[in-house]
Symmetry: C2
Subunit: 274 residues, 2 copies
């Protein structure tokens, strides 16, 4: 028998993976959590049947959502991650000489599942600098301050994650940040989500001194070409020269390309400004 | 009734498009040619059930396979395209002040189909500098010389295109090129085709003075992250500074990023050198 898992990337486009094994399937308080062993992409984590990561291509996403803001800031001490219960973003952040990392994940079952089935992704949770809060990220940023970098590693803007794409939330994130603080949010694909990208860009622009998008390829995400929106209180990312000597290993992120990531192709500039 | 077209990107991964209409389906001497109207990606051209282009995302591919070599050369006069019967690469080449463009497409039905169903892609065929040869590209390069740039815009390395990925063919392309000539080939995705990429890199390196890969995202191609392998007889692409003022419009290619395209992520360097 052949088993296939299909994700509706839109209602008109599907990606399907041949499955060797269903390793885990549960329903938490917040969502359906599934772990599959695929033939070609390694293990796959799905929340509500949407692909969150595969072990083969998760590094594109996790490296780009973490190293770009942390190296733009240059000297971050306290970092907040909202979402990111799989731990992939944490795994990258601990490569930096930061002092404290707070992860706010609303669904503790995502963390438990990742620790069990994705040890190579969740490896950073054991770092003593990491503190996990199983709370609502939207409430958390209202009540906690003093961060140098905030990374919004959310699911798609449906269900409980809708509020993580709101102007009010970005404003609370701004207030949670120290002077020269930087916020980054994953903001979906310009192949399918132009209106969202444009709205978030303008919302963040209305709050932060500098607003910049950067992009990465993520093969298994809808549209495969992904955006991250960065709001910066004082540092202009376009002026940041990053040393070419990496202090740690990466697979996709290159320091030599750091400034280049912020140079957008014309079609994406048009989405933002038209 | 819902109509879906599924492409097997590998035998274990499929991408499926909801179809409004089947506009064309025929069997040429060489392959099955299908034109579909999709809901989300516009019109889609498939050869032997493999996606060649969609009107929504073809610009990523066609701009990157043409502008990168032509602007690296800086002053190309005579250009050869092998394959590329849809015309997308020609459409981009005619934006440059070249004098002559030869297209060698083995299957004239691909050209006819593109002219009928993809007018926005095939628009360059009417340019007086373009001459079309419906011949085998492998034989053509053995017998024709004097090109400044050769672009190998082939299908996947199966069936008639296998020879277009051979060392013997790259050697013939070398001999067809003028002094300082440049050859570029589409060389598949590092997500699925590591061995091919590595072999082509080493084959091209054994012939050309400079061999460089560059990459682009192409959402509907298997793995979505694509490589192009460039062999250059005399010009070092890493030393080419390109003016930031574009002489023509593009959607994805940016002159500001020209040199950056050749800086490869660590995982891709490892594929080539390990």
């Amino acid at each position: 028998m052949e088993l296939w898992f299909s994700e509706f990337q839109t209602k008109n486009v599907k990606i399907s993976f041949k499955i060797n094994n269903v390793l885990h399937s549960s329903k938490s308080k917040y969502q359906k959590i599934t772990v599959l062993e695929t033939e070609d992409y390694g293990r796959l984590l799905a929340l509500d049947d949407l692909v969150m990561l595969t072990t083969k291509d998760e590094f594109f996403y996790h490296e780009m959502i973490s190293h770009v803001p942390l190296l733009t800031h240059e000297n971050p001490s306290k970092v907040l991650v909202i979402g990111g219960g799989d731990g992939g973003t944490i795994r990258e952040i601990i490569k930096h000489p930061v002092k404290e990392i707070h992860l706010v994940e609303i669904d503790k079952e995502v963390i438990e599942t990742s620790k069990k089935y994705f040890p190579s992704v969740s490896s950073g949770f054991s770092d003593p600098r990491v503190k996990v809060f199983c709370e609502d990220g939207i409430e958390f940023v209202k009540n906690n301050k003093g961060y140098d970098v905030i990374i919004i590693d959310s699911t798609d803007p449906i269900g409980p994650a809708v509020g993580l794409f709101s102007r009010a939330f970005y404003n609370d994130a701004y207030n949670s940040l120290n002077e020269n603080g930087i916020m980054v949010a994953q903001t979906e694909s310009p192949i399918f989500c132009n209106q969202l990208i444009k709205r978030v860009y303008h919302d963040v622009s209305s709050i932060f001194a500098f607003t910049n998008l950067y992009t990465a390829v993520i093969p298994t995400y809808p549209g495969a070409y992904w955006t991250f929106t960065m709001g910066s209180k004082g540092i202009n990312p376009l002026e940041r020269e990053i040393s070419n000597t990496p202090a740690f290993k990466t697979k996709f992120y290159c320091r030599e390309l750091h400034k280049s990531y912020f140079i957008l192709p014309p079609f994406l500039k048009e989405i933002i400004y038209k």
